[in-house]
């Protein structure tokens, strides 16, 4: 546990250990390059084929030949609820408003996702926080919803409460041992003769139990040494994936009746959950983590440089992003392409004014825009542009890295430790592009920055808070950008003019399409893929392509894959 390794910060997936970029050395951090069989590398001739050039023709189904004998990709896991999940879960369980979860220490995130199981560990500060939150919440709930929580008053009510609340809190039936263990909380020295004191103690105990705090993905052992998740664990996985909270009564009932083992049953439930409004904020939550925008409300911008930016504008940006992705996925085509090319935005009046758009309604709503608006699609969202920028200026580097890592799933090494990574100082006589020119004129920097800066330069018509501009420091902005090595195996250069144009390119890019599936895989699975996942990831990428690149279908496919249900033993 106290390993003293001198590993780099960012765990490069798949054990990559490249120290420099250089020609042709950029790495894909989704595993498709390793998994591919004979066919189709880099092929664009088949149109919508979508997985970083690693798969065969569309719709062939099945895994590439080299994958057939693979062990289950995912390990057994205990997934500590994130703060977001905890808040929603306790609110649902107790029928109270979502609590302030600030006292729970936050967990680190991996590749942007805070639900990575590796980061979910409990310290004494967590226990303190869980204890005190449970006490406050239970007092509150017993005052407000007593009848719902304690639906009985006769003898045997203690057991009845334990069995029924325990089923919901642990997301599975309790064992006899557990029932006995919790019955002990009704002992007279603890209750002082008051039933409710025992009932509260049971509920509080359950809310700090590891059986509540961790989502179990342990499974039951099969003859071949693999593990299959129980119907209860599958119900839990479905529910947290789509709703970010515990299963509802219908899903719990399906698990109780064993109706979650066939793909058809699973699909029925998945589609039911997705049709429920609860899936909307959860989708937005996923996008916020994927796009690196979930902290936009807390972003720090210099008031002197950006006088119109405020916390309220940042909140509108967050709401804009949520409304936009929810609309595309659930109310419009759902297609990957529309995410990048939608001819509309979601704004409220203050945000429209901030962007310089006219015709918006007072509250957040859809506004059709034309090309002159320079808006439309993920890449021109204020949240994206402001999050990937500095406090006083834009950042071609951050934006370029965002496209590479976030949208193309290509990993870039961090700069080596002995390199001076000082950004060029602000200069009132130069454009940002000119200031950063050194990266691509200095050979040592260029080996990596040739993959980054030329993408970021194409975003320069948007300042550090996402406002469109045509000049900077008196000079006209050059909006041309290019992507070197967009597709796997290719070293060609793809030019573009500004983010909306780049959006059109990414919408059609097999590498970008595959990356979306990879990111959703990371989010649903709660761990970073390794070589063992190569086939599972490719399989999901194929399913996404085969189902018309419809994001909703990707979400359904992700939970239908065997890789969710079947696990290998943890080492």
């Amino acid at each position: 546990m106290f390993g003293r390794s001198a590993l780099g910060l960012v765990a490069l997936p798949l054990g990559l250990s490249i120290a420099a970029c250089g020609e042709g050395m950029i790495q894909r951090d989704h595993p498709s390059t390793r998994a591919q069989g004979a066919g189709g590398a880099g092929s664009t001739s088949t149109g919508s084929v979508g997985s970083g050039g690693s798969i065969g023709p569309t719709g062939t189904g099945g895994a590439p030949p080299s994958c057939t004998a693979a062990d289950p990709p995912g390990p057994q896991l205990l997934r500590l609820m994130t703060r977001w999940e905890y808040a929603a879960t306790v609110a649902d369980l107790l029928g109270v408003a979502a609590p302030n979860v600030e006292p729970i220490p936050g967990s680190g995130s991996v590749n942007g996702f805070d639900n990575d199981a590796a980061g979910g560990v409990v310290t004494d500060r967590h226990v303190d926080a869980y204890m005190s939150l449970a006490k406050d919440l239970v007092d509150q709930a017993f005052a407000a919803n007593h009848a719902a929580l304690v639906p009985c008053s006769t003898a045997g009510c203690d057991r009845q409460l334990i069995v029924s609340f325990g089923r919901k809190a642990f997301r599975r039936p309790l064992t006899d041992d557990e029932i006995t263990r919790y019955l002990a909380l009704f002992s007279a020295d603890l209750t002082q003769g008051t039933f409710d004191e025992g009932a509260k103690l049971v509920v509080r105990s359950m809310l700090v139990s590891p059986n509540f705090l961790y989502r179990s993905e342990i499974g039951d052992k099969n003859a071949d040494g693999t593990f299959t998740l129980s119907p209860f664990e599958i119900a839990t996985a479905l529910s947290y994936t789509f709703w970010g909270t515990a299963p509802d009564a219908a899903l719990a009932q399906a698990a109780d009746q064993g109706k979650l083992s066939s793909p058809a049953d699973l699909e029925t439930q998945a589609r039911r959950l997705l049709a429920d409004p609860k899936s909307r904020p959860q989708l937005a939550h996923f996008f916020g983590q994927w796009l690196g925008t979930s902290e936009v409300v807390n972003t720090n911008k210099d008031k002197g440089t950006f006088p119109t930016f405020s916390t309220d504008i940042a909140k509108s940006m967050a709401a804009e992003e949520a409304a936009f992705v929810e609309h595309v996925v659930f109310d419009a085509s759902g297609s990957f392409g529309e995410l990048f090319t939608a001819p509309y935005v979601f704004v409220d009046q203050p945000l429209a004014q901030f962007y310089g758009l006219t015709g918006a309604s007072a509250t957040m709503g859809l506004l059709q825009v034309g090309p002159d608006s320079h808006r439309g699609g993920l890449l021109t969202l204020g949240s994206v542009l402001a999050s990937h920028a500095h406090a006083m200026d834009s950042s071609p580097i951050k934006r370029g890295v965002f496209v590479r890592r976030g949208l193309l799933c290509q990993s870039l090494p961090d700069p080596p430790p002995n390199i001076d990574t000082t950004p060029p100082p602000l200069d009132p006589t130069k454009t940002t592009r000119d200031r950063f020119a050194a990266h691509t004129s200095n050979a040592a920097c260029k080996s990596c920055h040739q993959y980054i800066d030329s993408i970021g330069f194409g975003f320069e018509s948007y300042d550090g808070v996402g406002i469109y501009r045509t000049t900077e420091n008196g000079a006209t902005i050059d909006t041309s950008g290019s992507v070197l090595g967009l597709e796997t195996g290719s070293m060609s250069t793809t030019p573009f003019q500004g983010p909306t144009d780049l959006g059109g390119t990414l919408a059609k890019s097999p590498t970008a399409q595959a990356c979306a599936a990879t990111q959703y895989y990371r989010y649903t699975r709660g761990f970073q893929e390794t070589n063992a996942d190569a086939c599972a990831v490719v399989h999901l990428q194929q399913a996404f392509a085969a189902r018309g690149l419809d994001f909703k279908e990707l979400m359904v496919s992700a939970v239908l894959e065997d890789s969710l249900r079947v696990r290998r033993a943890t080492p």
Partner: protein, 426 residues
Amino acid sequence: MARVLTRRSLVKGAGTAAALSLLFKQWIRTAHAASPHRVLFVYVPDGCRPELWHPTATGTSFTLPDMSQPLTPIQSDCVFMKGLNMYAGGPTHEGGVRKVLTGAGDVSLDIFLGQQVGKDALHQSVQLGVGTQYQNGSGYVSMVAKETFVQPDDNPLDAFSNLFGDSGPMGPSPDELLRRKRDQSILDTSLADLQSLETKLGTTEKAKLDLHLDAIRQVERRLTGQGTTCTVNFDTRGFMVNPMDYYPKTYHIESNFQLVGELQMDLMALALSCGVTRVGVVQWSHPVSPTHVPGVSVGNHDASHMGGPLYTAAKQWFMKEFVYLVNKLKSYQEMDGTLLDNTVVLLCSELGDGALHDHVNVPFVLAGGKNLGLTTGRSLDYSMQVNGENQPHAKLLVSIANAMGANIDSFGYTGHGTGGLDGLFA
């Protein structure tokens, strides 16, 4: 004016008259015959200008340059170290904050020492923050496992009740005893649940449950801790958390920065003095700090890039607060000296040169620690001692660990050799 507030009224007591002083007695474990040795890590954000920070002269006669100048009154309590680099482990602010206490390993020294030598205290280690969770996209110094930060507690009132519990001056009331008994039963149930869960798992996930188990036992020990009493006077200076402050929280409002900082330092001194913990961290803000410290017109990070008088003023402000802390520790008399004599304090940051984002010649200062073998009032130079390169700060972490009684010869990075720094601790 002394008034006893319970935890609940303390946290939720906004609107009640401000209590100027709180008197608490806390049941804690029996103090040892000799004062225990303690360690405190103090982080300030965004590096320095090394040429304006490190004294030029070495030895015992030296003058502090502009940025560290406010430390002059406590110069004889400090050891200034130049020529220390933080190697490996990632670049710039984010890399720096991850390695400054980990030595580029996985676990930070506060957590490690808490587990190694602080086990008998009510809290193995205590992390208090000043605005650390306000607009923080860069991380925290304390790490419990790979890529897993421990966020400090930014709310001093919350921290107070966590550290000193609910007891009144007469010891626990019958209600309080019943409350503890109930809490104990919850923790016992959790432990039993954990143990049955553990039987189902392989080692990776078991390690996670072991951490959890350890966490429960720590909380349990706090409930059952018994021994001598410690009188705790904590002057909240009228600070109250307004529950209506959603963003920023009351304790994150810039005009409260100094007050919250000083309350956290007061609390830390109390916790160390009372034996609540032997290992502490005070983290001021965070890397890329947006905070305008009093008297400086730009945010700390912006100042670090602008340089000049603004940066110097920001650094000087933090140094004055460090003087406050050192004097506070000095004000507690123990049987064999002051609390400062029994506590080694490390002042650190995540960068060397704040504008260059480098990890060269990082500003490290040790203070106190006389009874741990530290001779203070010195300026030391560790430049170019390893094949012409600067010594690694990981060796400084080893020296501190050794002084605290942890027998290790490396902590994190070993690329420039193992062992501690020469000539630091006796």
